[in-house]
């Protein structure tokens, strides 16, 4: 099998990338999706709040996915469901399998990585205690409740205030469970503020910041958990323990880009984002291999995933059509400093870039009334006051081609936070 562009993953990133690649002139496109349907994790996100940027209306996850699935189907873009990619090699040969075709290989001219992310598990946190039934990642519970109609528990404690945790607090409440408390290790929430209002405050569910689970009881099914307050080093403070009886603990403690396939094919991975290191074209260190969506860096908003994926799709199209301008000798490297944890992309080729380039990043803590500054080498070219910046919300700055063309010797762009 041979295709021009093969997209690994049929979630929001893969769908938008496929649509964009087709609209930029690629005929031969294949999407490989491991699940039974396109749409990815959106299918289990049945709450509303998707699509305000893209469609100017508020949709649920499955509705947002359906819009893109329709776009894919209208363009007769090929896809394979129930298909697991097990290996990709440096020469862009993909080994995949499904029940009907068995094991097979596909040669691709360009590959777009759009595998998404997975949830951090209890094990990664080393929470002490027993290991009974009743401990779920928030996403697993979301799937059980929203797609299968099964209730994983009746008395719930949630650890972690990521968006899925907050959303699940409301969902479990709606389906008849009692959510007793949401505990967050950090002194700030990891989720969007609107979700704290409409998922916790609306139902009187307390959010305990700077708290974590220090013990888990129950040898068969979960019986109780103990919360304790943590100090500034995130260590539990003795004497602050409080026991909550519950049959369920949901964990919403972070998402990790799923890059096992990428790593095995030799793609360089950022230690900060756990996603591939990419340039302005969202191209990885392997030519013709692009990345977008949550496999690149974890997003808060699917609208931004779709936008990013469209960029990847367009660049993949240009690559297979030979329209990509040769790489310049001098690329400009981007870096985050002073609270800016990372940037996507990591470098920009000024010749190849579009007229404007979005640079996305996250900050390491909550900043209020601080300045977000952009430096070209040592020259500060912008300094914008931000009321609030928080780790739970992705930030962006935009650089224009014109700015860079004026500075042919520019080596480095630095984004940093400066106090008022």
């Amino acid at each position: 099998m041979k295709y021009d562009v093969v997209i690994i993953g049929g979630g929001p990133a893969g769908l938008a990338a496929a649509v964009s690649a087709r609209d930029n002139g690629v005929e031969s496109i294949l999407i490989l999706e491991r699940d039974k349907e396109l749409g990815g994790i959106l299918n289990q996100c049945i709450h509303n709040g998707f699509g305000l940027h893209t469609f100017k209306e508020e949709l649920t996850g499955p509705e947002y996915a359906a819009r893109y699935i329709t776009e894919v189907q209208n363009r007769n873009i090929e896809y394979k469901l129930h298909t697991m990619v097990i290996e990709i090699n440096k020469d862009k040969v993909i080994t995949a399998m499904n029940q009907e075709e068995g094991l097979f290989q596909i040669e691709a001219k360009a590959i777009i990585l759009a595998m998404g992310c997975r949830e951090r598990s209890r094990g990664a946190l080393n929470i002490p205690g027993y290991r009974p039934a009743g401990i779920f990642s928030a996403g697993t519970a979301q799937r059980l409740v929203n797609m299968e109609g099964y209730l994983p528990g009746r008395e719930v404690v949630i650890l972690g205030s990521g968006d899925i945790g907050l959303i699940m607090a409301r969902r479990m409440t709606f389906e008849g469970a009692k959510v007793k408390v949401v505990a967050e290790l950090m002194p700030y929430s990891g989720g969007l503020k609107r979700n704290i209002v409409q998922c916790l405050d609306d139902f009187g569910i307390p959010l305990k910041l700077s708290h974590t689970v220090v013990n888990i009881k129950g040898k068969e099914r979960l019986e109780s958990i103990t919360l304790a307050q943590v100090d500034e080093n995130l260590k539990p403070i003795p004497g602050t323990e409080e026991e909550y009886t519950c049959d369920t603990l949901l964990l919403s403690v972070g998402l990790i880009p799923e890059n096992e396939l990428s790593e095995n094919m030799g793609i360089e991975i950022s230690r900060v984002t756990s996603g591939p290191i990419v340039n302005e074209s969202l191209e990885t260190n392997i030519e013709g291999v692009f990345a977008c969506g949550n496999v690149l860096h974890v997003h808060d908003l699917v609208d931004f995933v779709s936008g990013e994926a469209a960029t990847a799709g367009k660049n993949a199209a240009m690559y297979v059509q030979g329209k990509h301008i040769d790489k310049s000798e001098n690329t400009i490297s981007l870096q985050g400093e002073n609270g800016v944890r990372y940037t996507v992309p990591v470098n920009i080729d000024p010749k190849r870039m579009e007229d404007s380039q979005i640079i996305r990043f996250r900050v390491g803590q909550v900043y209020t009334d601080s300045f977000l500054s952009v430096y070209f080498d040592d020259e500060r070219i912008s300094n914008k006051k931000k009321r609030v910046m928080a780790p739970g919300e992705m930030e962006e700055v935009v650089i224009t081609k014109a700015q860079l063309m004026d500075r042919p010797n520019l080596k480095r762009i630095t984004i940093k936070i400066e106090e008022a």
């Binding site: 491991r34 129930h82 697991m84 097990i86 080994t95 399998m97 499904n98 029940q99 009907e100 075709e101 068995g102 094991l103 997975r118 949830e119 598990s121 209890r122 094990g123 990664a124 080393n126 002490p128 205690g129 027993y130 290991r131 009974p132 039934a133 009743g134 779920f136 990642s137 996403g139 697993t140 799937r143 059980l144 409740v145 299968e148 109609g149 099964y150 209730l151 994983p152 528990g153 009746r154 389906e175 008849g176 220090v214 013990n215 888990i216 009881k217 040898k219 068969e220 099914r221 539990p236 049959d247």
Partner: protein, 478 residues
């Protein structure tokens, strides 16, 4: 009335069952858990110890060395993962060289191939990530790593194939002496037998003390472990032990038979024989101590932590013999490390005792070969393609982290002593044992258990008892 009742389907009980099934004898195994490999046998280091550590002249030393020697052949016969990767015991300073030498002498006395290496260059060449201050190591090439679950499960399965009856969820509560043997009282009825094998792990003392005036005492010694993601096993080539202390072999760093890296165990004596909860002190100690002997352990790849219990008998010796004041009651007690290694030899010894007493004849139909569950992700391209063609279920991946297919899970459910719970599937196939810790595959696995075992969704458990995963349906309490 059966000839032999074995209490406990852990690794010792299952080894005894398999060895006995070589003879024409009626054997029944009573297990209080819902599955084999339910307690101590499921949470340990998975090491086939070479045998240099056990007390010279002890039964423990004898069975350890025997068991270690049996492992390569047995692992082939039972089709289970076993890698003879060798081990280092490390010495971090000159003062401890004497202790290392003592260990070497013990090894020689126990008949184990051991060598002290003091050439730092050679040590580093063999183990590039060894700690910088390591001055000498005791090298034992016979040490290996084995999958503790499948060793136990395979021996039980093979015993079942050869006619041994297993009863689960059956907890022994008492004994009555009868004219020609024993009546075993359980929560699941009474069983009459000529002989009893007490392989009850941390509870072996409780059972022993029900029938004998010569009391024994077993302490549950808890050990916390951390398991790192697949691939990290390459961080060390061999099993790296600390110098032994009075609490046993100390913290080890080892590749597992499946390429994970395992750190552990700590050692804390506890009274509660069910207390398998990890503690933050234990996990912190573990991480600190593991780093003393191996550097740059990729701790960000930790995927889970767990605690296991060792059945520590006061004299730190295996007790394998007929109880003097309770004829027909054979102890298989105090089986702590190197119990897993010794288990095949323990089985042989117990079967030997019973052969003598019951005058057993060989079972002409005995077949010691067991075919394991196919690890489809480890097959070459053509074999895997062929497999999926014949059995399409192998083309449907259920566990993404460990790449376990529906075919493997169906096999685990339908083979003898098949899995009935999420953990049962996990221990047989590794589905759910990977980096996402079953977040993704558990809903799909319970779906398969529901369909294949005809168990209602809200009755499916993580590991039997009251460990149900789903409690109801949406809005059922409104």
């Amino acid at each position: 009335m059966v000839d032999v009742i074995i209490i406990g389907a852990g690794v010792s009980g299952s080894a005894c069952a398999r060895e006995l099934s070589r003879y024409n004898v009626n054997v029944c195994v009573l297990e209080k858990g819902e599955d084999v490999c339910y307690a101590t046998s499921k949470a340990n280091s998975g090491i086939a110890h070479a045998g240099y550590d056990a007390k010279v002249g002890s039964l423990m030393a004898k069975l350890n060395v025997e068991g270690n020697k049996m492992m390569p052949e047995l692992s082939k016969e039972l089709d289970i993962p076993f890698i003879q990767n060798g081990s280092f015991v490390v010495c971090n300073n000159q003062e401890d060289l004497d202790t290392l030498k003592t260990l070497y002498d013990k090894g020689v006395a126990n008949g184990v191939d051991v060598e002290i290496i003091t050439d730092r260059n050679r040590i580093v060449e063999m183990e590039p990530n060894i700690a910088d201050n390591v001055v000498a190591v005791l090298y034992a090439p016979a040490t290996g790593v084995v999958c503790p679950f499948t060793l136990n499960i395979a021996m039980a399965e093979n015993a079942a194939m050869n006619g041994v009856d297993f009863k689960f969820n059956t907890e022994v509560v008492g004994f009555e002496k009868t004219d020609n043997g024993w009546k075993v009282l359980t929560n699941n009825g009474e069983f009459e037998t000529k002989y009893i094998v007490n392989a009850a792990g941390v509870y072996a003392d409780v059972l022993h003390n029900m029938v004998s005036e010569n009391k024994i005492h077993i302490t549950a010694r808890r050990g916390d472990y951390c398991l790192l993601d697949k691939g990290t096993g390459k961080h060390v080539n061999r099993t790296i032990f600390a110098l032994p202390s009075k609490f046993g072999k100390g913290i080890l760093v080892t590749p597992t038979a499946h390429g994970n890296l395992l750190l552990g165990p700590t050692a804390v004596d506890i009274e509660d024989k069910e207390a398998t909860a990890t503690t933050s002190e234990g996990l912190n100690e573990l991480i600190a101590k593991a780093g003393l002997n191996v550097k740059d352990i990729p701790l960000r790849k930790v995927i889970t932590s767990f605690a296991g219990l060792r059945a520590h008998e006061d004299n730190h010796e295996f007790i394998i013999k007929e109880v003097e004041d309770a004829k027909g009651f054979i102890d298989c007690a105090g089986i702590e490390s190197p119990g897993l290694t010794s288990s095949p030899a323990i089985g042989k010894m117990v079967a030997g005792i019973l052969k003598e007493k019951l005058g057993l004849e060989p079972n002409p139909n005995f077949n010691g070969k067991r075919e394991g569950i196919i690890a489809s992700n480890e097959l070459d391209f053509n074999s895997r393609q062929e497999l999926i063609k014949n059995k399409p279920a192998y083309g449907n991946i259920v566990c993404r982290c460990e790449m376990i297919s529906e075919g493997e899970i169906l096999d685990a459910i339908h083979r003898p002593l098949g899995a009935k719970s999420l953990d049962g599937v996990k221990r047989r196939t590794r589905a759910g044992m990977g980096r996402c810790q079953s977040g993704f595959c558990s809903p799909r696995t319970i779906d398969l258990i529901n369909k294949e075992c005809k168990i209602a969704m809200d009755e499916i458990t993580k590991s039997g008892g009251k460990s149900q995963i789903i409690v109801g349906t949406n809005k059922d309490s409104l």
